[in-house]
Symmetry: C2
Subunit: 349 residues, 2 copies
Amino acid sequence: MSKDSSRSQFNSITIIDVAREAGVSYGTVSRVINDSPNVKEETRERVKEVIDRLGFVGNRNARSLVSGKSHVIGLLIPDLGTAYIGEIIRGIDYELESIQYNLMLYTTHRREMKESGYISSLIQSGVDGVILILPRNPAIYLEKLRSLNFPYVLVDHQGIDEQGPAVGATNYQGAFDATEYLLELGHRRIAFITGTMDLGCSQERLLGYKAALQKHQIPFTPEWVIEGDFEQATGYSGAQTLMSLVNRPTAIFASNDMMAFGVMNAVRDMGLKIPGDISVIGFDDIFQSSQTMPGLTTVRQPLEQMGREATRMLIAMMKENTIKPGKIELPTRLVTRDSCKPLEAIQGN
Amino acid sequence: MSKDSSRSQFNSITIIDVAREAGVSYGTVSRVINDSPNVKEETRERVKEVIDRLGFVGNRNARSLVSGKSHVIGLLIPDLGTAYIGEIIRGIDYELESIQYNLMLYTTHRREMKESGYISSLIQSGVDGVILILPRNPAIYLEKLRSLNFPYVLVDHQGIDEQGPAVGATNYQGAFDATEYLLELGHRRIAFITGTMDLGCSQERLLGYKAALQKHQIPFTPEWVIEGDFEQATGYSGAQTLMSLVNRPTAIFASNDMMAFGVMNAVRDMGLKIPGDISVIGFDDIFQSSQTMPGLTTVRQPLEQMGREATRMLIAMMKENTIKPGKIELPTRLVTRDSCKPLEAIQGN
DNA sequence: GTGAAAGCGCTAACAG
DNA sequence: CTGTTAGCGCTTTCAC
């Protein structure tokens, strides 16, 4: 039981065993496996029967070696365990399933340095393409990917000038809508907590916020903009800072829902009520946002669909063996729940 | 630019190119790559220099084909986007990094049927071992894995009689502790919302709950036990059912934190207060549990460490090429926050 | 339609 | 210490 431990102990039976058993050459078995049209129907049936009977599965590595395709794509993500990433991956999975591709996972755990190292490792491991979710400093390795003509798609990092293949949501418009909604509710002192500013989506949201203010001729007040990092904790501390200003805002717009939760907790910990004392709005519409008390008004991003679109783009690129620039922006939508209130109501409180 | 599109367009340079450039045989290059001791230091340096200069990376598929090892492990999970899974994966990643292994991800999205299909696909794709997190019906394919002597580790599915390699937490003890805590607070009418009962951990938690009641000579009341499924929604509906009983409980113990959040929402929606009107306790201690208002008292599972231990076991098995039965149970710990209150206080409310 | 055979890039056993 | 070589399991011409 430790004699045959040398190689590939698992799929022990090979194409040759099948060929012998079916009385054909192994080339023919290969044709059957690959649905080649040049096989007599009768032969095909016989071979298939043997394949089933023997439980032949085929060696992926051998196939990949000769064909140059691994049928695996790499997925580079900052972290797991946020509903945000989970929903995107659901979309990716969905599309991959239809073309029988597998997913190799590379989690950077937010250590920027790891990203470019992973890219090499990823190319080396022979994946056919890669999806980069919320990449940190893609510029470093994007050039490499491009020069290799290695298929990739960026998700949620449409750097303002980036022309490469990317999918994202209408961050600018979404932030604009949220801000305008608050303005229409009568708010004039609207604070904004940004995401990590090296991410395109964060920059665009800030721009949308500013544009809405400008459209309504509300002067931009720098002290009402706090730099956050998409984590709950900075939402919490940001709200504390904001609420301690002499000229405190009447509404806080957080760049994502997690930070909005932090804001809600901070506000509550100060003994204030939402939306009674202050209105709060988020971005993403992750699952939990409908579960909080009060429900969080937020900008919905079609995350699963973003995953789907990114995968479709990648598949197309892998098929044509070329990188096709072009970015897709999926529409966001304001989801109103109970965390915002007209300003009059707040003043009368 | 579409001529050379046949195979392996990316790592174009091979061991042979390196050998030619370094003026050695390619066998020697292979030795250098594999840190074979039988290489003159000078030769080794020269080859390494060429490897760096040419940017040689090596073809994983070819290596895997001949060596029979892919340096990839498979991870089968029900779903993504829950903090629970994310923390376990963090632990897995951590251990894998040290031995330079990659992770192939198979998400079942809670479709039971997919599990056993994935197992075949997974063996076929040549992973060296597999970690199964919260598997649904592992019995179906566990036998197959065992007969193939395919290294695997179960996480959080210590079926009561399962002897195979597994890691989990002290579910029984954790549930016992939580229940006893409530009893010591004076509660006598303690409800319990189970997890999915086909999971060993759910069964053990129920047993722990019952055992604590018994120890304190509190009769077990079937109507206070609701079957849940670890999702927030069943916590919500379970609490509604419980609170509408004529003989309603004074405390609810949910088998995980997500369901406890559902309970909290339901209770609030009925206009009741936590812990003023009812005490709530959870299980897991995911990140958000410290962020709710009030903070959720819960049983902490060392999730990241569970991922680490599982990976270590798997690595050992892959090394020795054999399945070693034995399960590891990591200790849970009661984390008290503000969602529970002594019974007297509740009655006096 | 089908068989034969040339590799894919690499490891490892065998000589020397 | 280093070169040579036999495959790993499969795809894909090239004949017939």
